[in-house]
Amino acid sequence: MSTTTTRGVAQPAPAKASSARPRRGLRGNPTLNFWLFTGPFLIGLVIFVFVPIGWSAWLSFFDARYTVTPSHFVGFDNYKQILTNSNFSGSLVTFTVFAAFIVPTTWALSLGLALLVHRLRFMRAFFRSVFFLPTAVSYVAAALIWKMSIFNGVRFGLANTVMSWFGVDNTTWISNPTPPWYWLVIVTLRLWIQAGFYMILFLAALQNIPPELYEAAAIDGAKPGWQTFRYITLPQLRATSTAVILLLLIAAYQAFDEFFNIIGTKATWAQTPLMELYKTALGTDQDYGAGSAGAVILSLLICIVTLAQGKIMGFGGGEK
């Protein structure tokens, strides 16, 4: 946003600093101070981000069961093993199905809530807080409520209680993969936690739409409601919508907590990519080679999405 303006100002800055040059000792030396400020962070970044990634790329070419300092080079065997493993490809299918459910529903719900809250004149802050509040709740706590209270398979679960009022029999929501009711459990949980956060993004974007657009449309005879929404609001929210959809995709890709706690790693269905990595590297096999190969593959896949995101949203914050 402000990058371009501050960059414009940044050019004359050295000249101004030079007016204070007499005071410059070590305290004013830019090179020294740059490393003083960024050094601690950069050292940590190298040790805890770059080293693990490099180490993992190296491990992925070795037979590294139960060891992180292997000696037996196996070439691309770990990659072959991971890519031909039906559990791993199955986890990518799980992600795809999950994303197909959660991305459109979260987009629609958060936009809908933002449109409602945006039109409120009284108690706007109250309703915004109510929808935003679940963001503070952990996926584990929510999984516990969803699994043990709302979608409990026996009679006292809230969903089954409500359905019994209408004469519908108890449903096992989670422990039975056919029909796949577990998707309802998983998707409503994440909707509840996420929607408020993205609502805030949409609210900020709605406030930035110039009111003159609506006035001009009204003069031109556009009906308030669907017409103005379709031809003014929606196009004006395009940038935010794109960003939201990409953020939702990346978040869905990393899904672990609620699947781990609701479905569990022993089930044969609904295993996410991170759950497969968890089982491969930290399960009974402790196969760090295959686990690393899997991490490399998943990283490459997500790099593509993130790069697309960077292209669209503009990393570095430069104005388009």
Binding site: A20, N33, F34, G44, Y139, S299
Partner: protein, 287 residues
């Protein structure tokens, strides 16, 4: 939202009363649905097991406040221990992240060093892969350091967030230069100007980042699960997760533990919401 022509004004008024009644009904129904899980936590945590699992749904519980002391006195659960672990980890993570990332962000934004851009690109490169995806390599490193089951292992690898550093850089780019220049004229170096002028004038932004870091530290699950193998090092989230699969813990204790794990965050969240909303709207931070 000002209406300039009587034509528009009329249309607005006609739909007014009915329209806003419908609007408030819709938004209230949605709000009630969003509050159901909170209601269930509170209701169940103050119930007896029989009230939770009984055949007749009771709207209000019998308010068993004794559930709180029962939870903390139950030696098989050790919930107090995991609360303490989570507090230490979330607090230290927040302090460390703010310290390292804000300083680096400031250096990248404001100190004229000729290779600063190259360093910035190296930081940006780490944003391409979310840390959750690389938990296997991080685990390999941390276990080689012998940091399994330690606070160090839980905290240190998460401190160096490229994304938080990036957000601080973006924020400092917009920080008014005049304030710093005044400090420089007064004879302060970069270090002095940063701590005496820049940080005290950026507390809103620090508060927003601190809230988000604290919440995500408190709510983190995958990393504490991988590192905390001994129950003594479990965080609240790992402990809650173990209750889900463990059949021996009673329902009312599980829900009381859930309530206690959520309540402090809800208060922090409501209290700091204003800055949080501003911060998110400005930067699109993901919690």
């Amino acid at each position: 939202m000002t209406t300039t022509t009587p034509h528009v004004d009329k249309r607005r008024k006609r739909g007014g009363v009915l329209g806003s009644a419908g609007l408030y009904i819709a938004v209230s129904v949605a709000a009630l649905l969003f509050l159901i899980p909170f209601y269930l936590i509170i209701r169940n945590s103050l119930s007896t097991d029989l009230e939770i699992t009984g055949p007749n749904w009771k709207v209000l519980p019998s308010f068993q406040w004794g559930n709180i002391s029962e939870l903390f006195n139950d030696p098989t659960v050790e919930f107090g221990r995991s609360l303490w672990n989570s507090t230490v980890i979330a607090v230290l993570s927040t302090i460390g992240t703010l310290l390292f990332c804000s300083m680096a962000g400031y250096g990248l934004a404001r100190i004229p060093y000729k290779h600063a851009n190259k360093v910035f690109y190296a930081v940006l490169a780490t944003l391409m892969v979310p840390t959750a995806v690389t938990f296997v390599p991080s685990f390999v490193l941390v276990s080689s350091l012998g940091w399994i089951d330690t606070y160090r292992g839980m905290i240190v690898p998460g401190l160096f967030s490229g994304f938080t550093c990036f957000l601080f850089r973006q924020y400092f780019l917009g920080f008014p230069k005049e304030l710093e220049e005044a400090a420089r004229v007064d004879g302060l170096g970069y270090w002095g100007a940063y701590w005496r002028i820049v940080v005290p004038n950026s507390l809103n932004f620090f508060a927003a980042i601190a809230t988000i870091t604290f919440i995500s530290g408190w709510n983190a699950f995958l990393w504490p699960l991988v590192i905390g193998q001994d129950p003594d090092s479990w965080t609240v989230q790992v402990a809650l997760s173990s209750f889900i699969t463990n059949q021996t813990v009673n329902f009312h204790l599980i829900f009381m533990a859930t309530a206690i794990s959520i309540l402090p965050l809800v208060f922090v969240f409501l209290f700091l919401q204003r800055w949080l909303v501003q911060g998110i709207a400005q930067t699109g931070i993901k919690g």
